[in-house]
């Protein structure tokens, strides 16, 4: 029962693998994949409240891991729905695409439960390699091979980051003689004034900085976001980030108080991420690139929660990433629906969207206002709590810099909303979105508003989840 979600997912992946061997009806395949995704999501929800360890104490099941697993599978389900048509993926490889997506999610689910260095490494690689393949699976319509460039970039940067992480892990093992995270951290706690310990922790963190796209491990973001198909980008922009935050919290929460050097490094990364992301996003014309850069800035905000080294800070970071993923998925839902053949969407293509599809325009506007941090949406509440938490620790300058970044960010979000609502459509065709998509958009909107207006239950929940790993 404890391993039920993973087993369900593995079973689903195997079924898809069997289907991929023969010829399949693509339409049925899509519905089937969504069904499997829903089944996995359901199984994860069922396993809520389970606790225990598996595999010789290297795999821990607690509220924290189960919360992340349900978030990951929930996000996967939304990605499956919004990318239902897989517009820019060749029909013949649809089953394989789903197979790799499921395997990647399996890796991520294992990642959030792993508390042993090697298990973490294996799980991370399992999820990464599947995504490395998903990126170049885009149909090469123009023979420009953008997707190949994106795939190679994603792979090379990913492998480098993994190398860093593995190197850091070897330091950890060398310093402590164990690969069990609890033991490692207990022993490392005595060594925080040692450069070797700092290097070890920072290098391990680097692996997850890459997934979350934090400066200076962000270089892959714009090209991969642009080169991968819309559905793949939606996946990369949301699901792995959840797992990355899970692991960042797990590792950072073990650094307590004493880690002044680590604190300074995290601060620098946070500020640089915000400024780099927001300033670069200002000049983008491709909406996926813009969202990529904005993602870098948001990752910087998440670090604000981590570097408080407080339970409440981790809970806020968790709240923020949940909100971020929801807002991001809402944006990608609109992007995937607008793009008629799966081509990239320029910001100008959105002009007059309010006439072509009012619901999609509303979804996009709310999601972008929320990303910009305008109340009463979840983005504001998240930012507000992160800032309040950081200021509680006395990081006034940091908070002011973050606040300034909010002001910078509003410009590019607003310019998208501007073309959506305030200009006339170039292309007058109405966008037909299915009932299914509309319902998903509505649910995402509702989550964005409810999490922003009544955050208390969510905060309680994230706090108790984080508490379970402290």
């Amino acid at each position: 029962m404890q391993f039920l979600p993973e087993l369900t997912l593995l079973g689903a992946a195997l079924v898809i693998f069997l289907l991929s061997l023969g010829k399949t009806d693509t339409d049925k395949m899509k519905t089937f994949a969504i069904g499997l995704g829903a089944a996995v999501f359901g199984a994860t929800l069922l396993s809520f409240g389970q606790e225990g360890t598996l595999f010789f104490d290297s795999y821990k099941i607690d509220l924290y891991s189960q919360l992340f697993k349900s978030l990951i599978t929930g996000a996967m389900l939304v990605v499956l729905i919004l990318g239902r048509k897989l517009k820019d993926i060749k029909n013949s490889v649809h089953p394989e695409y789903y197979l790799f997506m499921f395997i990647s999610v399996l890796g991520l689910m294992m990642l959030v439960s792993s508390i042993e260095l090697l298990a973490i490494f294996v799980a991370l690689e399992l999820s990464s390699f599947a995504v490395y393949i998903m990126v170049p699976m885009r149909d090469d319509s123009g023979s420009y091979r953008f997707q190949m460039e994106a795939g190679i970039k994603y792979l090379l940067f990913g492998v480098t980051a993994t190398g860093f992480m593995l190197f850091g892990m070897s330091y950890m093992f060398g310093l402590t003689g164990s690969t069990q995270l609890p033991v490692v951290m207990e022993k490392l706690a005595l060594l925080y004034d040692q450069p070797a310990a700092v290097i070890a922790i920072m290098m391990v963190l680097a692996g997850f900085f890459y997934k979350l796209a934090i400066f200076p491990f962000h270089f892959w973001v714009p090209d991969v976001y642009e080169g991968a198909s819309n559905e793949t980008t939606a996946f990369i922009a949301s699901v792995p980030k959840l797992a990355a935050v899970a692991l960042l919290i797990r590792i950072v929460s073990m650094v307590n108080g004493e880690g002044q050097v680590i604190l300074n490094i995290l601060m620098a990364c946070a500020v640089l991420s915000m400024f780099y992301g927001n300033l670069s996003a200002l000049v983008q014309t491709d909406i996926k690139r813009m969202l990529g850069f904005s993602g870098i800035a948001h990752a910087g905000f998440i670090l604000l929660g981590l570097l408080t080294f407080q339970l409440s800070g981790y809970a806020n970071a968790l709240y923020y990433i949940i909100g971020y993923v929801v807002m991001n998925l809402a944006c990608f839902l609109v992007i995937c629906s607008i793009s008629s053949n799966g081509e990239n969407v320029q910001i100008n293509d959105l002009s007059g969207l309010h006439k072509r599809s009012p619901l999609l325009a509303l979804t996009l506007a709310v999601a972008l206002f929320a990303l910009a941090g305008i109340p009463p949406f979840v983005g504001f509440m998240g930012k507000f709590m992160l800032l309040a938490g950081a200021l509680k620790q006395g990081y006034l300058i940091l908070v002011i810099l973050a606040a300034i970044n909010t002001a910078i960010a509003i410009f590019y979000y607003l310019s998208v909303i501007r073309v959506t609502f305030c200009s006339d459509p170039v292309n007058n065709g109405r966008i037909s979105s299915s009932l299914f998509t509309n319902a998903t958009a509505f649910v995402l909107l509702l989550i964005i508003v409810i999490m922003g207006v009544a955050p208390q239950p969510f905060i309680n929940f994230t706090t108790s989840a984080v508490q379970s790993i402290m």
């Binding site: 305008i374 908070v399 501007r418």
Partner: protein
């Protein structure tokens, strides 16, 4: 918590005022018929206005405490509460808001032809946010509504606005947001310093260090001065006013600008009293600069909306002047003038909107000689223009007179510097009147113009009523605010220890 007064007869009146328009906006989503949508919005706003009359009739003018208070926990982990109440400073602004909204709906009756339901939804959400801003006693609640208001206002300008609406709406949004971002940092700092509480009355009259007060004041000043707008932060205002639809202009002029001055009264004075005293001279001279600058610029405008927008800069300069002379005449005059400006300028924007609906031009030259064919219209216009430059017998005269009296008490050179502003106001308003009322009628030919219809007369009548009521018998309005203002000033003067020390240090 002794600053709060819970009124058992009306336990939820403020919440109903806030949430009625919001509920109306949500139900509007299900209305398909545009005609019905207009009536629905009118009904909701009228109902809110009627409710607010009850509020003012039950308002206790013998106490400076916050009345009709409602208090609930909202976000426990950060100690954020949903707590609302009104006192003498905010009640007039609440009334102004509720009274003006039905008229805004009426003014948009035929002006808005496309996407009526979204327009009305924006108006109703605006009303919720504006009322909430004036009632909020929790700083986070205040900030959320303060910011949330930007979204519907942005859409009002950006979708239903004039030709340069995109530029104007983005400028409006960016200016206001950028201004208030440091306010947020200030709020969190206050929260940390005040034992992790966002409760506004608890933040007032505390002994913060002078340095902290100065930084806080600057954060407040940036946010509120942009909203007022004070010279030199006013550049978003003409753009936004000119491009906004009539109802948007009226809301902007009548209510939104008051939020800046309300912010000074509610936050800057009580939370940073000593910094206020130290920085007061600079604010006063900025106000003078705004009065003179607004007057001269208005004198040069051909676009009627721009003319009134720049006149707003001047009028709001008078308001900040009255606030920062920090005596009873000045403060009461300032609050009264906030209401007056809301009435008069709102009415003037409506008048311009009515011309615009007919001639599709706001140019002064294309409106010359309208008076001959629209006698009813110019009668209204004349009264509002007279009120705008403070003609005795109209509302603005009382307000400006009190402000100037307070200024004379504070410093004679300052008052003398403000006088030309009043003269300039007469100059630009008479110039406008002269062209519209008595200008030649053959270029362009105005003979086809129809005079005001019944709906338009109904819109303007309440404004005229208040112009004369406040102009001839302002006492009831002053009574409403008097105790609160007296209390504010008393407290203010007892919290000047550090400022006095600093002043002595500078002098010696």
């Amino acid at each position: 918590m002794d600053q709060l007064l819970i009124n058992p007869d009306y336990p939820h009146i403020l919440s109903s005022l806030i949430f009625l328009p919001l509920a109306g906006a949500l139900l509007m989503l299900f209305i398909r018929n545009e005609f019905f949508a207009r009536f629905w919005a009118l009904g909701i706003t009228t109902l809110t206005a009627i409710l607010s009359v009850q509020l003012v009739s039950a308002f206790d003018t013998t106490t400076s405490k916050f009345q009709f208070v409602e208090q609930y926990n909202w976000i426990d982990s950060l100690n954020i509460q949903y707590v609302i109440g009104v006192d003498g400073i905010s009640i007039l602004l609440v009334m102004l808001t509720t009274m003006i909204m039905p008229l805004c709906v009426l003014a948009s009756w035929s002006y808005i032809k496309t996407r009526v339901q979204p327009f009305m939804i924006c108006l109703l959400i605006m009303e919720t946010a504006m009322l909430g801003v004036f009632m909020a006693l929790d700083f986070v609640l205040f900030y959320i509504l303060w910011e949330a208001m930007l979204i519907p206002m942005y859409l009002l300008i950006g979708i239903w606005g004039g030709p340069r609406r995109i530029y104007a709406s983005i400028k409006f949004f960016l200016y206001t947001l950028a201004g208030s971002i440091l306010l947020l940092v200030g709020i969190i700092w206050l929260y940390k310093t005040n034992n992790y509480s966002f409760f506004i009355p608890d933040m007032m009259w505390q002994e913060y260090s002078l340095t902290a007060q100065i930084y806080l004041f600057l954060a407040f000043f940036l946010a509120f001065a942009i909203k007022v707008p004070m010279f030199p932060f006013h550049t978003w205002l003409p753009a936004a006013h000119v491009e906004a639809p009539t109802a948007g202009s009226v809301i902007l002029a009548s209510v939104l600008l008051k939020m800046g001055t309300y912010g000074f009264l509610r936050f800057a004075l009580p939370i940073t009293p000593e910094a206020t005293t130290l920085l007061m001279p600079y604010v006063l001279w900025l106000s003078i600069a705004g009065i003179i600058y607004g007057g001269f610029t208005a004198l040069a405008q051909q676009d009627m909306k721009k003319l009134i927008a720049y006149s707003s800069v001047g009028h709001m300069g008078f308001v900040t002047l009255g606030i920062f002379v920090l005596n009873i005449e000045g403060l009461e005059g300032a609050i009264l003038q906030m209401v007056n400006h809301g009435i008069t300028t709102g009415a003037l924007f409506l008048c311009v909107g009515m011309i615009y609906e007919r001639t599709h031009s706001r140019d002064l030259r294309s409106a010359t000689g309208v008076g001959k064919y629209m006698p009813v219209y110019v009668t209204f216009l004349t009264f509002f223009a007279l009120s705008s430059f403070g003609f005795p017998g109209t509302n603005s005269f009382v307000g400006e007179f009190m402000i100037l009296a307070g200024t004379f008490k504070h410093s004679v050179p300052l008052a003398l510097a403000a006088i030309p502003g009043a003269v300039l106001a007469a100059a630009y308003m008479l110039r406008m009147l002269q062209k519209i009322v008595w200008g030649g009628t053959d270029n362009p030919d105005q003979s086809w113009l129809k005079d005001l219809n019944l709906r338009e007369i109904i819109i303007l009548c309440p404004f005229l009523f208040f112009v004369f009521w406040i102009g001839l018998g302002p006492q009831p309005f002053i009574d409403l605010m008097h105790i609160s203002v007296v209390n504010l000033l008393e407290q203010f003067h007892t919290h000047q220890g550090q400022a006095v020390a600093a002043a002595e240090f500078i002098l010696h």
